[in-house]
Point group: C2
Chain length 212, copies 2
């Protein structure tokens, strides 16, 4: 993995406006994209998120209608809806602790301190803003997914221009404890997408990075 590879990939990527709907992501590449979502770090390691891959064309049409009719919803190879928890419950913490015990093959007693710390910080004294906190974690996952896609020369577009409450309704999430954060469409650019030729606009390094 060289520096120039990474920079090249990040320069290459752009917010794809039009996908070639005939081109599909291979199973091998999709596995790596999935791994990026699964391996994303999250606060405490809690992973209060889930990823819905919408394959059903009718469902995609319905979602498109509440996404400003953006064609990427229906024309991308993979359309991923990022869900986050709308509150943090004792069972969320327990589920995570159970998983630590399972993966690391440790006694439950050895992780009870960590469990009580999380319960104290997030449940007993409820987190002041669980919705935004968990959504922020999902944006780390979004970063991982977009960077991995670029490294694999897969096009993508992060999408916030949608009605999350309408998504929740269409996806039957109401009352489930899950809510729509945002989406990412993945696939391959159409040759007609003029945006691929536009020069990337970023502020100068000196306006973004400061040494103190």
């Amino acid at each position: 993995m060289t520096n120039s590879h990474i920079k090249e990939a990040l320069q290459w990527r752009y917010a794809c406006k039009k996908f070639d709907s005939t081109k599909k992501i291979s199973e091998t590449d999709w596995t790596t994209l999935k791994d990026s979502l699964i391996l994303t770090p999250t606060s405490y390691g809690l992973q209060l998120m889930k990823f819905l891959v919408v394959q059903d064309p009718e469902l995609r049409e319905k979602l498109k209608a509440v996404s400003w009719n953006q064609s990427q919803v229906t024309d991308s190879s993979h359309y991923v809806v990022f869900l986050t928890r709308d509150s943090i419950k004792e069972e969320d913490v327990k589920k995570f602790i159970d998983r630590i015990v399972e993966v690391r093959e440790v006694e439950r007693a050895s992780v009870e301190g960590y469990e009580n710390m999380m319960l104290g910080n997030l449940v007993k004294a409820p987190h002041p803003d669980p919705v935004n906190w968990t959504k922020k974690q999902a944006y780390i996952a979004m970063g991982f997914l977009l960077e991995t896609a670029a490294l694999l020369k897969i096009d993508s577009v992060p999408m916030e221009g949608l009605d999350p409450l309408a998504y929740d309704k269409i996806l039957n999430l109401e009352g489930s404890g899950w809510t729509t954060a945002m989406t990412v469409a993945l696939g391959y650019r159409s040759q007609d997408d003029q945006y691929q030729h536009a020069k990337k606009v970023r502020f100068l390094e000196k306006d973004l990075i400061e040494y103190i």
Copy 2:
């Protein structure tokens, strides 16, 4: 760039608890890390964020004191504080439009529609929650930074366990329009850090990814 390289890097990374303070990131690698921050996509492309690289040891000590005394603040090679705007102003939009005109060498008139759309959505009808919205964008940048670090075999730790208001005070941000979102410490793990040997805990794919 192969699938196995990426997966290997993401499996290799962990939240570094103890850095080897004698090891520093090379200029070449730091340039790539910086590029990842600069090239991160953001909503509308607005880049309402800034990255402070804290080098002054005294300043790092002060920040450590309001970061639960976590050693990574002082022992990492590079300590990056992510700042975001606490509100979105007309000048933020104008600055971005100016930059588009500069980079793409287009007439200002050709991007006025985009400018007015942004002003309408974000300033005239103020964004309902600018602080959380801009912070979420910063988490995409966090994702890019952490993934790039892993690809370069540079250790990192994302840090939320700190007092952002105390950071704002120490960093003289009060009244500047900038506020502390979170931080990332980067460098090389200490051989004493036992966490590097712990098995990575993640939920199973079937609990995280669903096809519909």
